[in-house]
Subunit: 430 residues, 2 copies
């Protein structure tokens, strides 16, 4: 499906809209991270302010910055990435882009929810690709996953948390705050707009639900057909009662195919605390699909933000350029080690005698491992006493050296158990 270009010619890319998402895409494409892909044009109104702004830092000086959309539509770019938003005038521009042989990648949920079917038809007619994984759940690849990984199933139900703003607000209300206060908080944190209507009244989640229904259930659906119920009248008392019912309250978008009818709704709902849907906190998004054959699959992650959304867009771009089946599995080699810098859990079974703890801690100190805690639960026999030492982050081999020494102590009734503790240390890096 990839556009045929001369061998080795770079794929030329334009970005429409240099805001939060558009500028993150440009930064992600910077440097030689994705060989064969070249960002050549950036379009925005009042573009000079963007070109000289902080978000343009480090971008290739050869990029054409323009505030005339014709400079893009009449150019020889291969792929147009649209990160402006809204239906008008975007729909017309993207129709022209597709008609003139450009692939389109967009993050625009309203456009795709209302006009996606027509745009997809136009793309097919022009043998071009239209992709919009970023339009639903931002950095959570639920659309590629359902399109490529679940197309063999028949998905009959899906439910999700598709609006991070509402989830942020409702998960804060769960701690006892009132609606008006968490709205102010969300606005201050930059999660909610001055006019929060699209989020709190469910229109944003509804557009995403319709796109998801189309991708996962293959059913065309107009957002206006789906009831959206506001979260404005949910109050702290509802969380207190929900708790008594073993539940919490979340804005849920759900659809279900039953008896030939598609039931769909966006509304604040009571969600059992035991349900995966309740796992989602803060601005996180979450989708649960239910397949006739494969059962429930859960997806979760960052539903918004410049960088996660840019990941979805660039992934789409790569799929357009390379064709998704030809993802080359490289043979890059790295040194491999089983060593982690991590806290460790050491469990000993001993015949209890004075001095054991000091002998063990001595062995740990000798290799340079620091003890974080020593635990001894009551109720076990003194002649086969289990107790536990946890260490501060230590290299696997270091801990193992100490364990080896300790296992030779004659009070040890069996080989100590040494387990890594999976706690978040610093980010991995390279």
């Amino acid at each position: 499906m990839a556009k045929q270009t001369a061998a080795n010619a770079a794929t030329k890319v334009a970005i429409l809209g240099f805001g939060t998402v558009g500028s993150s895409v440009a930064q992600l494409l910077r440097g030689q991270k994705f060989p064969g892909i070249e960002l050549t044009h950036i379009y925005n109104r009042g573009v000079e302010r963007k070109r000289t702004g902080a978000t343009a830092k480090g971008l290739n000086s050869g990029i054409v910055w323009t505030e005339n959309i014709q400079d893009i539509l009449k150019s020889d770019v291969d792929v147009v990435i649209e990160t402006i938003g809204g239906i008008d005038p975007i729909e017309g521009w993207l129709r022209k882009a597709l008609s003139s042989g450009k692939h389109v990648v967009t993050a625009n949920k309203q456009l795709i929810a209302y006009k996606g079917a027509g745009l997809a038809k136009l793309a097919r007619e022009n043998n071009r690709v239209l992709v919009y994984n970023a339009a639903v759940a931002g950095g959570v690849p639920v659309i590629p996953a359902t399109l490529h990984g679940l197309q063999g199933d028949r998905i009959t139900r899906l439910s999700g948390i598709l609006n991070g703003t509402c989830n942020f607000m409702l998960s804060h209300m769960e701690q006892g705050a009132e609606y008006a206060d968490v709205l102010k908080q969300a606005q201050a944190a930059g999660y909610a707009e001055a006019d929060p209507t699209a989020d709190v009244d469910g229109y944003d989640a509804r557009a995403k639900l319709c796109i998801l229904v189309r991708a996962a259930m293959q059913i065309g659906i107009n957002p206006d057909e789906v009831p959206a119920q506001t979260i404005r009248n949910v109050s702290a008392v509802d969380f207190a009662y929900a708790k008594e019912l073993g539940c919490t309250v979340r804005q849920i978008a759900r659809a279900e195919l039953r008896g030939g009818v598609l039931r769909a709704r966006v509304a604040p709902m009571l969600v059992p605390k035991s349900s995966p849907i309740a796992w989602s906190h803060g601005t996180q998004n979450m989708v649960v699909t239910s397949g006739e054959f494969g059962g429930d699959v859960v997806f979760s992650g960052h539903g918004a933000g410049g960088n996660p959304t840019a990941v979805a867009i660039v992934s789409d771009l790569l799929a357009v350029v390379h064709g998704s089946n030809s993802v080359a599995l490289p043979v890059k080699k790295k040194t491999v080690t089983g060593e982690f810098m991590a806290p460790h859990y050491l469990r000993f079974i001993v015949r209890d005698k004075p001095g054991i703890v000091s002998a063990i801690s001595g062995a740990l100190t000798k290799v340079g491992a620091n003890i974080d805690s020593i635990l001894q639960r009551p109720g076990y026999p003194k002649d086969a006493l289990p107790f536990v030492v946890t260490t501060e982050p230590t290299l696997t081999s270091t801990v193992e050296a100490a364990v080896k020494a300790i296992s030779k102590m004659n009070t040890m009734l069996e080989a100590p158990l040494c387990l890594q503790m999976l706690v978040d240390d610093d980010r991995a890096e390279d």
Copy 2:
């Protein structure tokens, strides 16, 4: 990338190995569910027993059943689906299939972990597709999701629960049982083999981890380089201590790129109860990827079983046949409704007077809605008293009719709040 066949010619498919997974794939392909795809050959040793067995019920009578692998390799099938397992003799057979122009879909983790790079190279040389999403996490589409949806990110860390048998055993041990007992339970339930080595000693999860590292981090890695630690010596006492540390114990497969070195390990580890990794219960699989730009993404679902694994295989097959970018978004229409049959939560704020509850329950009874519970928390003022009624499953419009009547009662201080409760009712169906 799809093999060019004459217009409208069906894609011919062979299945090698008619066991749990192979027979589920055949059943999933039955009927006209996937137009243009035809199951033409089934290979298995002692095939007669398979052809006449219960798992062959309903399959097309035109299918060629054979116990001679040459009947497949010399046939004109377009795609070979391999669900036998093991490296020998499968590797040789699949090399021949690729060389003779057949695409290959496989669920074989050992083969791909040890021989995947060579097979992928051969596939590329022959302009054929080799796909194996079913080899990792069964029905959870983590490979398509990372390949297609996260390729724009740089994944520096991943951790997962990749072996359902160990997760079943350890999540049962969490309830207080000992290792030997849960192993017997797992064997009785069909989750563990008579020889549980591959599962409990980590070799199964290790092969999957290597495949995942290759797909998500683009690093070639040999399973033998990765330490695997057994779960055999984890005992009930460790769960008691883990609990005191706010943790549980799970078999974790993890990899992390740091300072140019890939750290990788499969082992029982302590996992904080607050971590998404601890959400996974029973035989469920779970993967968390950490991207430099997109942050953490969580995937979870059924990691094994005939049907979930068959979904992954058939999804791969469809991607091979249609090319993943050309997934047609259909314009199928369904009647859409916002109505759900669900329990509802009704919250009222009233000026407290005798008879209110009976008036409300009367209004609900009148429309045919049954009350499930009435909740009144202490401590609220009598002149603005919130209380809650929950209903048994009732149609949205029915509940709303009652709410409308109730909202007119003059004791109501504000409009009642009516929320759907998201509890699992019967499966959706069509």
